[in-house]
């Protein structure tokens, strides 16, 4: 095993929850189980402190760990972080203790299994973001499905069986072709190692096929517009902690996949597909916003708003500009914090009213001021109010879009207005609507609930007011991805054209690319 730093921090982050899950099987007392999981969550966060030593201008991948796994096939156990994945790992580690706290009273049956699933989820999610071997990535990517499925299927709402199966089928069906792509990359590139694969370039035809196979898997996970139908079902039925994990981490994996694999491995195909991907992203933004406007179920509303927010992320990625991508990553992080917080709050509300309908939760402003303060904060963040975290991400993406092409910018802007409309409508009715089912027994936020929500609320303000710290960390990594893309495409004969030109002339670019390939291979 070779390591950069002395202590294998990433392995520790992955193994600790697994080991705790093993211990959990032999425990009986509910309280001990919860406390142990909470302790593991806190330990994970403490371990993550080491990750702050990440040096933005340093090596491409840091905290690297490498060991042989199956040399016969070139599989390695290879972990490492760069600016694209660093914040996702931090976010994942942060979510574990919050989910445990948030479910302290929400989950009252089969507690051991619940925490078992939470721990497995954390482990697999950190693995997805840290893996630098394609097979290792796939292992974590798929392994995460099982605990998530169980979280929805066992602790979910009335239609949990339907929702959980839909989630599993959709995401698994999408990622089967990803496996074919992985196998194909090994044959062409000779390795499963992601950094090694990034250095090679591939024929245009191969890139197109590989891009389609990978993009399908990632687009379903994001989810992008026509593939989004599993998301509202899963979100509505999942327990609060399940929704939080879904929104905060799972959806990010799709966007992360685009950044990590599609852009550097299949740059020419990404450029050719960019107009389509941008169109789909804008469709997601507008469609998600419009549908969210019509929801009466709070969770469904937030679920559709996720579709819209993730549309901004994919839009930013496929602009292929520094502003766009850094906005996209920031938006990923922000969406995790904000939507995670919102789902957590809906969970708290549900514990009191046993309903997720807006109509059953009206007029709480007077009775639960602290609760409404935080809900207001997260809602404002969700609609990208200046001063909150989402504003920074969304504005960066929009600036990138306007720089790329004014029309794309104009097409995306209504999304931001829609967000204001549906979030304010929700906020207005929950705060000031005529009380329908309020009972004096509904207590305002308790100590535990404050502790659960406070870190997220602080992050909302912190990132909103001082975003440059995060952006500085990512920039070198993004620059690297964009340079790789540009040099590879130049080498293939695809000109580094301005986005606007590209959009108008996609067919011509394709033809040139193919001619070049023919020239290369007599």
């Amino acid at each position: 095993m070779t390591m950069q730093s002395g202590f294998p921090v990433l392995t520790a982050l992955i193994v600790l929850p697994l080991a705790a899950a093993g211990v959990l099987m032999f425990l009986r007392q509910e309280r001990t189980i919860r406390l142990l999981t909470l302790l593991v969550g806190v330990l994970e966060c403490l371990l993550c402190l080491r990750l702050f030593s990440y040096a933005p201008m340093g090596a491409a991948f840091q905290f690297e760990e490498k060991a042989d796994w199956l040399p016969a096939l070139g599989m390695t156990y290879h972990l490492g972080l760069d600016g694209l994945s660093l914040y996702m790992v931090l976010l994942t580690a942060l979510m574990l203790p919050l989910c445990v706290l948030g479910s302290w009273t929400y989950i009252s049956k089969r507690i051991k299994e619940f925490h078992f699933c939470l721990l497995l989820m954390t482990s697999a999610c950190i693995g997805v973001f840290a893996a630098l071997d394609f097979v290792l990535f796939y292992v974590f990517w798929e392994a995460m499905l099982v605990p998530m499925y169980l979280l929805i299927a066992v602790w979910g709402g009335p239609r949990r069986r339907y929702a959980s199966i839909k989630f599993f089928l959709y995401t698994l069906a999408g990622s089967t072709l990803l496996l074919a792509a992985i196998v194909a990359f090994r044959q062409v590139g000779g390795s499963f190692s992601i950094p090694e694969l990034m250095e090679r370039s591939y024929s245009f035809k191969f890139q197109i096929w590989a891009f389609v196979a990978m993009a399908l898997a990632f687009a379903i996970k994001v989810p992008m517009f026509p593939f989004h139908t599993w998301l509202p079902a899963a979100h509505v039925e999942a327990p609060a902690a399940g929704s939080v994990l879904l929104a905060a981490i799972l959806l990010k994996m799709g966007a992360y996949g685009f950044l990590r694999f599609c852009l550097p491995l299949t740059p020419a195909a990404a450029v050719v597909a960019a107009p389509v991907m941008i169109a789909i992203s804008i469709a997601s933004i507008l469609y998600g916003g419009c549908i969210a406007l019509g929801q009466t179920d709070i969770k469904k509303l937030i679920a559709y708003s996720s579709v819209a927010h993730m549309g901004f992320v994919t839009l930013g990625i496929f602009l292929f500009s520094m502003t766009g991508i850094s906005g996209a990553i920031l938006q990923m992080l922000n969406h995790g914090i904000t939507t995670g917080g919102l789902f957590m709050m809906v969970g708290l509300l549900y514990e009191r009213s046993h309903s997720r309908e807006i109509a059953d939760n009206q007029g709480l402003g007077k009775h639960m001021p602290a609760f409404m303060f935080l809900l207001g904060l997260f809602s404002f963040s969700s609609l990208a109010f200046p001063g909150t975290n989402s504003f920074v991400g969304e504005v960066l993406v929009l600036i990138g879009a306007f720089k790329g092409n004014v029309w794309i910018g104009f097409a995306a802007v209504p999304g931001a207005m829609l967000a204001a409309a549906y979030m304010l409508r929700l906020l207005q009715r929950v705060t000031w609507g005529a009380p329908t089912s309020f009972k004096p027994s509904w207590w305002d936020l308790g100590m535990r609930e404050w502790v659960t929500l406070a870190p997220l609320a602080m992050l909302v303000l912190y990132i909103g007011l001082a975003p440059s710290l995060a952006i500085k960390t990512m920039e070198p990594s993004i620059e690297r991805v964009l340079t790789t893309m540009r040099t590879k495409n130049m080498a293939m004969g695809l000109e580094d054209r301005h986005l606007a030109q590209r959009l108008h002339l996609p067919a011509l670019t394709v033809a040139q690319g193919q001619e070049q390939i023919k020239k290369e291979r007599p």
Partner: protein, 469 residues
Amino acid sequence: MTLISIKLLPELWLLVIVCALFVASVSGSKRSVLSWLPGAAILGVAIAALSLSVRGEIFYGVYRLDGLSQFFKLAIAAGFAIVTCIAAGKRDSEDFSPDYFMLLGLSAWGLMLLASCVELISLYLALELSSYSLYALIPIRGKDRRAAEAGVKYILFGAAVTAVALFGLSYIIAAKHTTYLAVMASSSWSFANAPMAVIGLSLFLFGFFYKLALFPFHFWCPDVYQGAKNETAAYVATIPKLGAVVVLVRLAAMFTPGMEVTNLFAILGAVSMTGGNLAALAQRDLKRLLGYSSVAHAGYIMLGLAAGSAAGLAAATFYVLAYILMNLACFYVVCAVSRNGENPTLDDLDGLYRRGPALAMILAVAAFALVGLPPTVGFTGKLFLLSAAWDQGYHWLVIVAVLNTAISIYYYLGMVRHAYTGESEAPALTVSKGQIFFGGVLAVIVLLVGMLPASVYSLAARAAAALRP
């Protein structure tokens, strides 16, 4: 002579067990043989593991001990031991007389011989030896009529396919003037050069396709699984496939991709996995479901055989071991869940998380392994198969195989869904601590070999490399 008997220790030990069972069956002792049989069978696994490195050729080159044969002998010994351990959970069943296990052991012994045979006639004899005891085993199930039906079906199908295989054998001998695989391998196997030999070989292969339950030779499979006793089904579903695959691996080493025979492998594989998976979607009876699932898995194995490269053969070898491990884990749960030896349906799994939490977890591991989800052995095996087939240019086959994963998830997930989200009033299952421990070990093996496949894969790779230098 002593040298030979040391080389043949795995076979001889199994023969000793069979003889001991024979003595027990004639002596009429009241003591159940299950008190010592699992231990003896596990000792057999240790012996097979120790003789992994034995190499040699005996009986005039008819019987070869190489990496492949020793690997499969280990797998057969392990499978036999697991089946006896599963049976030990129901030791009061009337059917578990000593002769029941004697027949099981004889069949496994035939398969061990099959693993080493490199000459067509002895290969045929070993195949029949393993089949005959199964013909007698399948109808043994109290006074159940379905078992009798299953037995008749198995014999009739088996006899017909055997006749076809013998017919094919005659063609091969006529065309190639030899029965030694080594000699045959050096001659051409393309249809243009040796049409009669290729036709004969295809017919001969049917005998093994039948054992493997590959489409269109699978019709016996769901019916026999359903009719046979749960423990018998566990055996029939797993160990005979090892015998079929070892012979197919030996034969596939003679071909190169793009030949008529390899295309036959590929096409039958694609049809088999698709057909098996689609048919399994509609099943309620767990054993029928697993029957169709085994048809699909036979199709996956064809990926490696069609590739035919050293990597492909190694992948097929690895995958068949993976297949018996995860299938036996699944059958272990089926046997434990069934009441009075009845066939469990999907609904019988309801509420299993409460009635037998350990069983539910083992079932989940086995089912997700059968799907091919990481980090189980099912995924690793499938990855090897896919990359081997892709490297040899069978791109379409790889895509069919991965799409099949998406089809198959539905019914495997159905088992987990019933176990974890179904509710039932049925009382808790009483399973002894030892049985639970044994099931847990099975599940852990399925996970561990999946996560750290290097040592097992290198055994398979070395075996395959010897066949295809």
